[in-house]
């Protein structure tokens, strides 16, 4: 899924559906001139770690329980360079796209706050769509604005991913129009949204002249939706566990125009197939980080409680060894994020599944290690249990991953 809010909260940059906020001023190249140069490599990871252990750790409980949307922190991550590591030619001399770095940065954030790590992924996935669209209107200055975090973005791809896996139908419908398409429909929950955000979405294209719905679709298009458009309405969602601060909204499109400037891919399916491994690989940062946070909290109670914790099944040393091996495996896969070979895809899906399973086990074990103090609502230990559940159910969920691995593993024979 993409995740929520019980009620619009003032701190959460809540849009007023009745009067959409005005578009942020169009970023020009000049707007960046005073921004510090983005960091890279270990310097970036150190800076992200400091931000995570400092201001993010301070805010994590408010994000979780008061639904505070950490917009400023996300934008600081952008300023540091943590939202552009997976982009090619990212303005850093001699550096190309580095998915491993993007994943590690996301893990550092998720270690402290899984919800913020998830929002980092939402934004990074949106950047992936823009970059890979090769649409001049979505790359260049627009992508730079996105990669620097000046404009935040989201992904409405849960529904299309499930649709393409044969799990559910597409929720958005596009009608051909003179200047492109007009799109109607509602995506039930999209995270990391705000009145000045963008999101990537897919709509089924109705045959020419049809109003959509009854006729068989004539393919799909993928496009970027600017939330400030008057044809876009953000509506509050019910509350979600562990994801209150992720600014999650239902997105309703009313006769929303999609022109060539907003087009990410037509047809959408081959494009989604091409970026699938990269999309899934980026998500592994969440699971790795939540697992690491859980192991860290097991260590902190080792001195007072080690004498009883040694009777538990999953101990921090063994979990850390498994996490380190998985991290190495994921970083090796991240060296070729656009691979499409069958065995590579299976490896990527399996690594993502492993990260989910390890986060579940580590978070659960951390709670058992911490005991009652970890069960306090203010404790990150129990928050992490909920975050690990989220890692395992967010699209592609553990069950979807296994189903897809089984599909890819089956021998193909003549019909």
């Amino acid at each position: 899924m993409d995740a929520t809010l019980e009620t619009p909260r003032p701190k959460a940059a809540a849009p007023d559906p009745a009067s959409p906020a005005p578009a942020t001023p169009c970023a020009s190249a000049a707007a960046v001139s005073d921004a510090p140069a983005p960091l890279d490599g270990d310097a970036l990871l150190d800076a992200v770690r400091r931000l995570a252990d400092g201001p993010l750790a301070e805010l994590a409980d408010d994000i979780d329980r008061r639904g505070v949307y950490p917009r400023a922190l996300l934008q600081q991550l952008g300023t540091l360079g943590a939202l552009r590591a997976h982009h090619a030619g990212r303005g850093l001399p001699g550096r190309d796209a580095d998915y491993g770095l993007a994943i590690r940065a996301m893990a550092e954030v998720s270690r402290v706050c899984g919800a913020t790590g998830f929002m980092m992924w939402c934004h990074a996935a949106c950047g992936l769509y823009m970059e890979q669209s090769c649409n001049p209107a979505l790359t260049g200055a627009a992508l730079e604005r996105h990669a620097s975090g000046r404009r935040l973005g989201a992904t409405g791809m849960s529904n299309p991913m499930k649709c393409f896996a044969g799990i559910e139908p597409l929720l958005l419908r596009a009608r051909p129009a003179v200047d492109g398409w007009r799109v109607d429909g509602t995506l039930p929950w999209v995270s990391n949204l705000g009145p000045d955000h963008v999101l990537g979405a897919v709509a089924a294209v109705a045959p020419h002249g049809g109003r959509g719905g009854t006729d068989a679709p004539a393919g799909e298009i993928m496009f970027l939706v600017p939330c400030e458009a008057p044809t876009v309405e953000l509506r509050p969602c019910p509350a979600f566990s562990a994801m209150e601060g992720t600014s999650t909204w239902a997105v309703r499109l009313h006769d929303h125009p999609v022109g060539s400037d907003a087009l990410i891919a037509d047809p959408a399916r081959p494009f989604v197939g091409r970026i699938r491994a990269a999309f899934v690989l980026l998500q592994t940062g969440m699971g790795l980080g939540v697992a690491q946070g859980a192991i860290d909290s097991m260590r902190t109670v080792e001195r007072p409680l080690g004498h009883v914790n040694r009777y538990l099944d999953e101990r921090p040393d063994a979990l850390q060894a498994e996490l380190d091996a998985l991290t190495a495996r994921i970083l090796a896969l991240a060296a070729t994020p656009f691979g499409t070979a069958r065995d590579f895809l299976i490896d990527v899906l399996d690594a993502r599944a492993h990260a989910s399973e390890l986060a579940l086990r580590a978070a659960q074990s951390a709670l058992l290690h911490a005991g009652a103090r970890g069960y306090l609502l203010s404790s990150p230990v129990q928050r992490r249990v909920r975050e690990s559940h989220f890692v395992a159910i967010v699209t592609p969920a553990l069950k979807h991953l296994r189903k897809e691995i089984a599909r890819l593993s089956a021998e193909e024979y003549p019909a």
Binding site: R65, R299, G306, R310, D317, E322, H354, A370, P414
Partner: protein
């Protein structure tokens, strides 16, 4: 909504605040840490002042883990930043759980993240080995073919209590794969090949069966097998995952059959036996690519079953790698009365669908064929995914997981392998005969009691080629350099020997079935 959104009223210290729960937690907890001795002496507390130059300290609530940081104080309770712990009024209570000041103890700062790797887990408990044995995961077997079931059976014979899980990508029904090559000649339906249902075999052997489950990867460090139905911890892993057909790029999997298991064979038979429109001939045209062992056997059997078969190979004669030319010649002669045509010296260049029924095959030299079904019998290779994920030594030249001949152990001592997926002494073994012996040797190695006669897993085996019109048996190595002599060559029978300086290195006997020989001599 949440407790902390509206701070609850403070409880007072005293009998209630430091109540039974808090005391129980503290009592069950750590023995008084040595560094309690480092606490400022009571005199210091009485004066109400810690030495001003001392660094700020932290105190942890033994009940809930809240940390009182002298540097931050507790604004809600009116304690300004810098308030020393000993200066806190005695009626102060933990802002989180309400226990009293007495339930706090000095807290050392958390270990920095860098210390993670260095912080050791506890030393082993004295009873760890016993605990391990009591809840140890058992043996996980990957593969529901002959090798997997034989391994499960051999392990069960050795140890009635061993937990065994068998993971099978297919249904796992027990059947004899070699019979797939002679089904038509014996007039059998595919269903008749099943000797025992997988669920029955599992019950008989006390095995947990995970059918239709793909083994995805091995986390060798954590000893966990990852599958599409969950992750299985193992004490020992047995790979019996077989070999898979190797398809040249010109043969797309969606257009050609590969007959390597019963489910694929069922699919082929369903396609061949599908009802035809009235008036259309029952006989199908089947094109078999590859005239090695499997290709010749299948082509012969399908032709005996009445289908028109075209058999292609890049070599000019069938079974060129295994047989001397005279034996290939006699095989071709034995096929003469069948609807079976051998076309040698050709290589398939393209396969395409003509329509829903017909497939078109073109060779590099310009021949083209239309067939109702195309079967590829172009060799086998061991899939490397699992072995690679565990970092197992793989014999790329032989095409199998390298295992020790005596114990069937791979390069990871917790992982063994047998059957079609292994290479022993630089050679892959793709025959049925050694599997039972491998299973026994493997079970002996896993259960810690060697076979009484010593391992014999690597004994040479006779090769039986089940070409129905002229079955051929070869003992020894027919590919060795040497000279073939003819010991007998009469209608329906050919016996040859391969000689080298040292003596006979291989012997070949081809004998037509009785009824064929009778027909010849008549």
């Amino acid at each position: 909504m949440s407790a902390s959104a509206s701070p609850r009223p403070r409880r007072r210290a005293g009998a209630e605040g430091a109540g039974p729960v808090a005391r129980a937690v503290a009592g069950a907890g750590v023995p008084a840490p040595e560094h309690l001795a480092d606490l400022p002496p009571a005199a210091s507390a009485l004066t109400g002042a810690a030495p001003p130059e001392a660094a700020f300290r932290q105190f942890i609530c033994r009940a809930c883990g809240l940390i009182y940081d002298e540097a931050k104080g507790d604004a809600d309770a009116g304690l300004s930043p810098g308030t020393r712990f000993e200066d806190i009024p005695d009626d102060w209570t933990c802002p989180l759980c309400g226990v009293g000041k007495a339930d706090f103890e000095p807290c050392e700062p958390d270990a920095p993240a860098d210390a993670r790797a260095a912080a050791p887990d506890d030393p082993p408990l004295p009873d760890r080995a016993a605990r391990w044995a009591a809840r140890a995961p058992g043996v996980v077997v990957v593969g529901g073919g002959r090798a997997g079931w034989q391994a499960a059976q051999a392990l069960r014979e050795r140890d009635p209590a061993l937990p065994i899980t068998l993971v099978s990508a297919c249904g796992g029904d027990v059947y004899d794969k070699p019979v797939l090559s002679v089904v038509h000649a014996r007039g059998l339906a595919p269903e008749a090949l099943v000797r025992e249902r997988a669920t029955d075999a599992a019950r008989r052997l006390g095995v947990r069966l995970l059918a239709h489950t793909h083994a995805v990867s091995i986390d060798a460090g954590a000893r966990r097998l990852r599958t599409t139905r969950g992750t299985l911890p193992y004490r020992r892993l047995v790979l019996a995952c077989g070999a898979a057909p190797r398809l040249p790029a010109a043969l797309p999997p969606r257009l050609v059959w590969r007959i390597n298991d019963l489910e694929a064979y069922r699919g082929l038979r369903a396609a061949l036996d599908a009802p035809r429109p009235a008036g259309a001939p029952r006989r199908r045209h089947v094109l078999v690519v590859g005239a090695g062992l499997v290709g010749c056997e299948l082509a012969n059997d399908l032709a005996l079953g009445g289908h028109a078969v075209t058999l292609l190979d890049t070599q000019p004669r069938p079974l060129a790698a295994a047989l001397p030319p005279l034996a290939s010649q006699r095989l071709l002669e034995a096929w003469a009365g069948l609807p079976l045509r051998f076309v040698g010296g050709v290589e398939v260049e393209r396969v395409a669908r003509v329509d829903a029924k017909l497939t078109w095959v073109a060779t590099r030299c310009g021949l083209s064929f239309e067939a109702d079904a195309v079967i590829a019998a172009t060799g086998l290779a061991t899939p490397q995914r699992l072995a690679r994920s565990a970092g197992l030594a793989y014999d790329a030249r032989a095409g199998g997981i390298a295992v020790d001949a005596a114990t069937l152990a791979t390069s990871d001592p917790a992982i063994h392998a047998l059957g079609d997926c292994v290479a022993i002494g630089g050679r892959a073994s793709r025959f049925v005969e050694p599997i039972a012996r491998q299973a026994r040797a493997l079970a002996a190695a896993l259960c810690g009691a060697p076979e009484p006669d010593g391992p014999d897993a690597a004994r040479p085996v006779a090769l039986r080629i089940k070409t129905g019109s002229l079955p051929i048996t070869i003992e020894g190595d027919p590919r060795a350099a040497g000279v073939w002599t003819v010991d007998a060559d009469r209608p329906g029978e050919l016996v040859m020997t391969l000689w080298r300086d040292t003596g006979a290195v291989a012997r070949l006997a081809a004998r037509a079935p009785e009824e064929v020989r009778v027909r010849h001599s008549a």
